[in-house]
Structure formats: structure tokens, C-alpha cells
Symmetry: C2
Subunit: 306 residues, 2 copies
DNA sequence: CTGTTAGCGCTTTCAT
DNA sequence: ATGAAAGCGCTAACAG
């Protein structure tokens, strides 16, 4: 009944040379006492904590909730726990500000869903296992992304198939990541963009894709107050699926992106980067799907198939 | 330049008797090398990990996001990190299933936002520092809750002040925590309840409070398909504030509950329970507020002040 | 004022 | 097939 033997048994040591009788006895006693190995001691010895840190900008956005869910589940399957760091909306800190979590041995690696753009490669965070999730970080080979072009294509094909020829996309500015604008700012942005579109007059688009749920609310408000009917005057598609879309005044069609899969893939990539060195970017290939609701119809002037 | 002295200096040992010169030198070198104490080793020695686990049912519900945000921020102020455990919606496990996190020294305590009702006191989880947040768990003295009655009063006073005399509240069954029903079930529940109310005929309520955002969507759908106007025929109030309420067909008035404060209070309570033993339940007293939007008006038959 | 010592609970060579 | 011993990086009690 001696300690190192126990360790070998409980860890299923590959070069295991223990008498079946002893092995039984150990397992029995362990279970009887409800023994739990101390992860701290184990981690100290092994230089592996079994934890990740997920840096996320704004918990209230449903998009990150789904990402989170996928990551959490995959991590727990792989025997990791994940702690959450919420990046403040104002004065966000650069990713390298979270390096300390690894340096202190609190985590084995970083999942970065926030990305303040930096001038060059972020040397400071480069030393530490990490992946950027749903964004391209400054250093290549550490990004896990989706086929956003595919999402756009899905949208275009759908509305083009119905006869639309003038199509707009409203989305946040690309240089600053959307996450840095407050929720309300996002809505205002959506509303402003739509108002501008309306004011421009002339060749109004007959279909419009909107980049986030919050912007969508702004767009819808602008359309309503301008007296534009959806989908009578203009068709609207959200690039941010949420079940609440089904319950709006007019239920909104959306492109549903594989966010949970993205989160899971990010965890896989991070695990790979902890074992080996960075390799190449990961593109999540799960199919996107279009959730068809009432906000899309043929364009107002459409006379049938061309 | 020797190790235990460094420890004393960096920890600001109370009985600190170190020459200022040495203290300077140590700090200088520490900073120069970017030294980070290893939290694992420290935790192993001190029997404190500096981490909490937050067990939460459904990440996609905005209510949890706000709770989470409050808890995360307060925890980080107090020097703790928090890891998230997402409880599956189907086959949820009892809180005691998360005891192992403390037993393995992965966390110092548990924040439990999920609460499968159990027959008696949950002895299994009782041994471990924990608080139930926003629910009453089986064992007393470990609950952090809000003044839900106050929320109801706020709603009643508001609509009663406008002349409403027949008021209904639609909410999930209380014996099973709302969290155990799927989102869609919640909506169906809202829709079904409202349909029943409508079918009952006769003395229809002129105002209705709804317990969660998801149920609200169901209620609104039912009202629309029944041709009941909001607030013309019936006033509607949500007990679950979310900014998207402002962007619905008719913007919905809500009671805004101090969820972030609740999360923060839960962290405070948990810290207290880690240092000392359990004391008494905590009631968060932050004021609730009514966010007035367009979904509330005087009742249809109202002739002026009584 | 500062160095020495003894662990925290585990894993992992190396000896039996 | 198992025990002994060293050590992960730190802190705390005790000497000097």
C-alpha cells in the first residue's frame, strides 16, 4: 500500500507492471475513500494546469454565448476547465495583457476572442500558447476562423435567386473589431446606415444583410420609422442567428453560422499548440445554413423569373 | 538575495522586517526579470486556489450573462478567477456533481446558479463552500437572492396606478426551476398560457407580467395571432430587462433587476463562506427599476382617475 | 534583519 | 512487482 504505486495505477502508467491483486486493492480503497488527486500538486509536477482562459469582450452578445458553449463542452471532453475573462468594453487591453495567466501557471493557453488590432506581430503574446477565435490576430498560424465569405455567398445566392439585383450589406467597420463598440453604438450604427441608405434615394437596395443582432435592431427601427415595409419594400437578412428573430414583428431570416463548432475547433487548435508548436490557421468548414423566415421576399418590382 | 526573503517582500508580510535597501533591490530584480509567482505552488502551500467555479444552466439566456458579468468583475477585483461550468439542459446533474472541483483543489468554492430541487438538504454539497445564486438551495444560509416580491410590487403598483384592476402574471412553474425547460419550451409555455387566458373569455386581465424574455416572445406571438393589441387591449410587462425590448414591434416595458449586483453579492458571500462558516442568506437590496416603454397604457375601459 | 528548514501532494527516475 | 527519494515553486515557522 505505498504511494508511488498508487500514482502509477491511477494514471494507468504505460509500463505498468503491477500485480492484478494490488491493482484491485488500490482501486477499491481509492473509491471507498472517495480519493481525488490534487490537481494542484499534479500540475506543479507536470507543468500542465489543465485549464484554459477564454478572453471574451461582451458576455451579453448571443454570438459569444454560442462560441463559449462550444468551447466549454469541447474543453471538458478533453479534460480541461476554462475560465472566463471578460474584457471591458471601454479601454480594452491588448491580448498580451493576459499572458500572465500562463506565466503564473493558471492556464495552459489562451483563447482570444477579443482582438485589439496592433501595429505588428504581438511579440508579447506570441511566446504563449494561444489562438485567436473568429478573428485574425497579428501573428499567423494561430487563428481559427469561419468561412465568412461563404456566409455572404449564402445570403447573396438566396436573395439573388428571388430576383434581387441591388443588395447591400450593413456591418461594422472592419479595421476596428465590432466588439469595441458598445451595444447601443452598434444599434445606432445600424440605424444610421439604414437612414443614410434611405436618404440616398434613387436606386435603393431591395435586400439588405446585417452583420449583428444589435445592428439589426437599429436597422429595423430605422426602416419602421421611415415607413419602409419588410419584406414588401426591402428584404432583410441577419448574419447573427438567434431564436428571438422568430418572434419579431416580422420574423427575420438569418444566416446561421457554426459558432459552437468554431469554439470547439478553437479548443482543439489550442490543445495542438500546447503539445506542439503553432502550425497553420484553422478554417472551420461546418456548413452554414440559411434560416428562412418572413423577412425575405421577391423585390417589389419583380415580374417573375428572368 | 535569498528566496524566503523575496517571498516576504512580494507578499507584503505583516511582520515585515526588511532593510529598505534590500526591499528595493528585490523589487527591482523581480520587475526586471518579469517575475511571476507560480500560483500553483502558492496554492498548494496555502490551500487556496484563488478560483471559483460558476455552474450555470444556459449560456444563451441574457439573464445569466448579466449575472456572470457581475460575478466576474467582483471576483477579479478580489483576486479570484472564475471558471464556468455549463450545466446541460437535458439530464442536468445535481449541484453535488461539482463538489469534485473543490475536492481536487481546482476551486475554492462553487457558485451555483442551477438548482435541481432535491428531497432534503444536499449533504453531498454541504461540505464544500458554496452559494446558490438567485435561487434557494436545499440548505439554508447559503442563498443569495433578490427581492422578487419587490419586483412584483413594482409591476403591480405601476399598472394599478394607471387604472388596471385585473392583472395576471405568467411565469414558469415554481417547483421545477425555470432553467430546466428549454428555451423553446419557455416560449411555448408563454404562448399556451396566454392562449388559455384568451380562451377563458369573460374577465380578461388588462395587464400581464411575464417572467422571462423567452416566455415573453411566446406571449407576444399569442396575442398577435389572437388579434389582441398591445397596449390597446392588454398591457404587457417583462420581468427580464433586455435592450432588445426597445426594438420590438411595440417596445416592451420591463422591470430591471439588479442582476450584476446579485452576481457580485454572490461572490462576496462565497468569499465569506470560504473564510468563515456559512452564516445566513443574503438578500440583494439594490433597487429595481421599471423601464417604461410603449407596452403599458391605461386599461381599455378606463374613464380617468377613480 | 535575513538564511535555513520543512513541507504542500503529487510524479518519476532509480533501486531494489 | 514495488519502495525510496528527489523535486515541481512556493510559504511559514524557526533560527541565527
Amino acid at each position: 500500500v505505498h504511494v508511488s504505486t498508487v500514482s502509477r495505477v491511477l494514471n494507468g502508467d504505460p509500463g505498468l507492471t503491477v500485480r492484478p491483486e494490488t491493482i484491485e486493492r488500490i482501486l477499491a480503497v481509492a473509491k471507498a475513500q472517495g480519493y481525488r488527486p490534487n490537481v494542484l500538486a499534479r500540475a506543479l509536477r507536470r507543468h500542465r494546469t489543465g485549464a484554459f482562459a477564454f478572453v471574451i469582450p461582451l458576455l451579453r452578445n448571443p454570438i459569444w454565448a454560442r462560441l463559449q458553449g462550444g468551447a466549454l463542452q469541447r474543453a471538458s471532453e478533453a479534460g480541461y476547465v476554462v475560465m472566463l475573462m471578460e474584457e471591458p468594453l471601454e479601454n480594452p487591453r491588448p491580448p498580451s495583457a493576459y499572458r500572465y495567466l500562463v506565466e503564473e501557471s493558471r492556464a495552459d493557453g489562451l483563447l482570444l476572442a477579443t482582438a485589439r488590432r496592433q501595429a505588428g506581430p504581438d511579440a508579447a503574446v506570441h511566446e504563449v500558447p494561444h489562438v485567436y477565435v473568429n478573428r485574425r490576430g497579428p501573428d499567423p498560424g494561430n487563428n481559427v476562423i469561419m468561412d465568412e465569405a461563404g456566409a455572404a455567398r449564402l445570403f447573396i445566392d438566396h436573395v439573388a435567386g428571388l430576383g434581387h439585383r441591388r443588395v447591400a450589406v450593413i456591418d461594422g467597420p472592419r479595421d476596428v473589431d465590432t466588439v469595441y463598440r458598445r451595444v447601443s453604438a452598434a444599434r445606432r450604427y445600424g440605424a444610421d446606415s439604414m437612414r443614410e441608405l434611405l436618404r440616398a434615394g434613387g436606386e435603393l437596395p431591395t435586400a439588405c444583410g446585417v452583420g449583428s443582432l444589435n445592428q439589426l435592431f437599429g436597422v429595423l427601427a430605422a426602416l419602421r420609422s421611415a415607413g419602409a415595409a419588410v419584406p414588401g419594400d426591402i428584404s432583410v437578412v441577419s448574419f447573427d442567428e438567434d431564436e428571438c428573430l422568430a418572434f419579431l414583428e416580422v420574423p427575420v431570416t438569418s444566416v446561421c453560422m457554426p459558432l459552437a463548432e468554431l469554439g470547439a475547433a478553437a479548443v482543439d487548435a489550442l490543445i495542438a499548440r500546447i503539445d506542439g508548436p503553432a502550425s497553420s490557421d484553422v478554417l472551420v468548414r461546418e456548413p452554414m445554413s440559411l434560416v428562412s423566415r418572413a423577412s425575405v421576399a421577391p423585390p417589389p418590382d419583380y415580374k417573375g423569373a428572368s
